[in-house]
């Protein structure tokens, strides 16, 4: 029972952590929240949906969807951020929401308001049993893929010059530019990596919910946002930690709450989140010594 609980928390938490990491990457550098971030899951879902019936194998469809997610993430920068980046935080808030709304309405208009089935290979839903734990294969894959992504991500940020430049830019963007590191390279890389992480997390998310609808991006955005707020908006470690903590809270209520109260689970989850923020408004993990954008 305990092991089952651990596996459940880890599999949910790994998804949350990936989502949060993708969001905090862009925030760290621009000090701006990308509210169109959830729409990358929409892009993932509809990409796979539209490729349904094509002769390609599923993994090719998923790969294409992830590439689309990266493309749309970079596109978000060009459409919603770059033109107004220097103006004000409010301007970007509005443009990123506008871009999100645009994508949702495009899906509504061009495809359908109804949820569409997203094909997933059947083996993902097969159950496996070990040490008394029963869990679908996709949960184990989520955990494995996430930890793999995190290892690659951390190594990249530590060893590559671009990774170092991105970390430096997150602390002091102007200083980074004064060292000859192109601002646009750093920003585009951040959006691309954000799109990649959201793409991977989004594909795993789709394997869970198996359908896509115009409002599908809201929940992942909310998850990513809350996880980063809990963990500390300025730290990638914080985002990952926040993701796992949020999953831990969610899953604990799943186990503890009686069936008829379970549908109000979010009320309980958010109460805990508010409590955490009352005690530590800056989030659990302190980020690099950096100013907040004004």
């Amino acid at each position: 029972m305990f092991l089952q609980y651990i596996v459940d928390v880890l599999s949910l938490g790994s998804l949350y952590a990936l989502f949060a990491l993708g969001l905090v990457l862009v925030y760290g550098i621009l000090k701006l929240v990308n509210f169109a971030y959830g729409e990358l899951v929409l892009v993932i879902g509809y990409s796979i949906f539209l490729l349904k019936g094509s002769p390609f194998p599923w993994f090719f469809m998923a790969g294409t969807a992830i590439v689309m997610s990266i493309v749309f993430s970079i596109f978000t920068d060009y459409v919603a951020f770059r033109p107004v980046r220097e103006k004000s935080v409010t301007a970007v808030l509005i443009t990123s929401f506008a871009f999100a709304t645009l994508l949702q309405n495009a899906a509504l208009l061009l495809i359908s308001a109804k949820p569409k089935n997203v094909p997933m290979p059947s083996f993902l839903s097969d159950s496996v049993q070990f040490l008394g734990v029963i869990t679908p294969v996709r949960n184990l894959i989520s955990i494995f893929v996430t930890f793999l992504c995190l290892i690659i991500f951390y190594q990249f940020m530590k060893r590559s010059t671009l990774g170092l430049a991105m970390r430096a830019a997150a602390t002091n963007f102007n200083m980074t530019r004064m060292l000859g590191i192109p601002a646009n390279l750093v920003i585009t890389s951040a959006f691309a990596m954000s799109g990649l992480l959201a793409g991977i997390a989004g594909t795993l998310w789709m394997s869970k919910i198996a359908n896509v609808f115009p409002g599908v991006g809201l929940e992942p955005l909310l998850i990513a946002f809350i996880a980063t707020v809990i963990g500390g908006m300025r730290s990638v470690h914080g985002a990952v930690l926040g993701g796992f903590i949020l999953a831990f809270i969610d899953m604990s209520f799943n186990y503890l709450l009686p069936q008829d109260i379970l549908k109000f689970r979010d009320v309980f989850t958010f109460s805990i989140v508010i409590l955490i923020l009352l005690i530590r408004p800056q989030g659990l993990v302190k980020g690099p010594a950096t100013g907040i954008r004004t």
């Binding site: 970390r167 430096a168 530019r177 060292l179 590191i181 192109p182």
Partner: protein, 250 residues
């Protein structure tokens, strides 16, 4: 004829020239009118009290402060509208006030980023790191230490070392004495002098610490309330100048 000849020679040596510079931060005008030039191999000091516009002048050369008016030329090229990254590539490196090292990265990583424009040329990068370590041996000892844990003086050395990593033609150095104990300031200036001797680097130095700066400078500009109020050779000014007037007004 002779005059024309010397004029041409002067122009050839001229590295940096600023004309009629005006800098603002929103509605606040930080620099009203600054004209100055720096010749190749010179050390020029910009002196003035807090808020005189020294740092703003430097940052506008580096391309990060908003230039309202004026022109910045480097080796005869108009760089007024250039981005900070482009300006560095031309050979202008900045050590900003407060040093702005990256506190979460190691000493080595800070230096590697300083050499970003040479990132593809591994041997140049390694050699330059060696040169910086020779100039500041303490940094070599602190190689893998996180930069935020260095002392103030060491952070200043790292900031200078990081700027040198791009192999600049001119170094913009903003208040290297800021917040440091007198003995440490002494040491930093020794290092700067050694650097000048070794490399014949051109330096534009901003300071509040007038005597210290004058000791290594060739020429001086005095800045007051955003305007150049006087200028001259450092050796002449050292004795004659009424510093009280410059810092506190009439």
């Amino acid at each position: 004829m002779l005059l024309k000849h010397t004029l041409e020679k002067d122009l050839k040596m001229r590295m940096l020239e600023i004309n009629n510079l005006q800098v603002n931060y929103g509605p606040v005008i930080a620099v009203k009118k600054v004209d100055l030039f720096v010749n190749q191999g010179e050390t020029v000091v910009l002196l003035g009290a807090n808020g005189a516009g020294k740092s703003s002048t430097l940052l506008s050369i580096a391309g990060v402060a908003n230039k309202l008016l004026g022109k910045v030329e480097f080796s005869g090229k108009d760089i007024t509208k250039f981005s900070p990254e482009k300006i560095l590539t031309l050979g202008i490196a900045t050590v900003p006030e407060n040093r702005d090292i990256f506190p979460d990265l190691s000493v080595k990583e800070n230096l590697v980023l300083g050499g970003y424009i040479n990132r593809k040329k591994n041997n140049i990068l390694q050699d330059t790191i060696e040169e910086v370590y020779n100039l500041f041996p303490i940094l070599s000892e602190r190689n893998s230490q996180v930069a935020g844990t260095l002392s103030g003086g060491e952070q200043q050395m790292l900031a200078i070392g990081r700027a040198l990593m791009s192999k600049p033609k001119i170094l913009l150095l903003d208040e290297p004495s800021l917040g440091l104990a007198p003995t440490i300031v002494e040491k930093i200036y020794e290092h700067i002098e050694q650097l000048k001797k070794n490399t014949n680097l051109t330096i534009l130095l901003v300071e509040q610490h007038a005597m210290k700066a004058l000791s290594i400078a060739d020429r001086v500009y005095f800045l007051r309330l955003g305007e150049i109020v006087s200028s001259g050779k450092a050796s002449d000014l050292k004795e004659k100048t009424d510093f009280k007037k410059i810092y506190f007004g009439e």
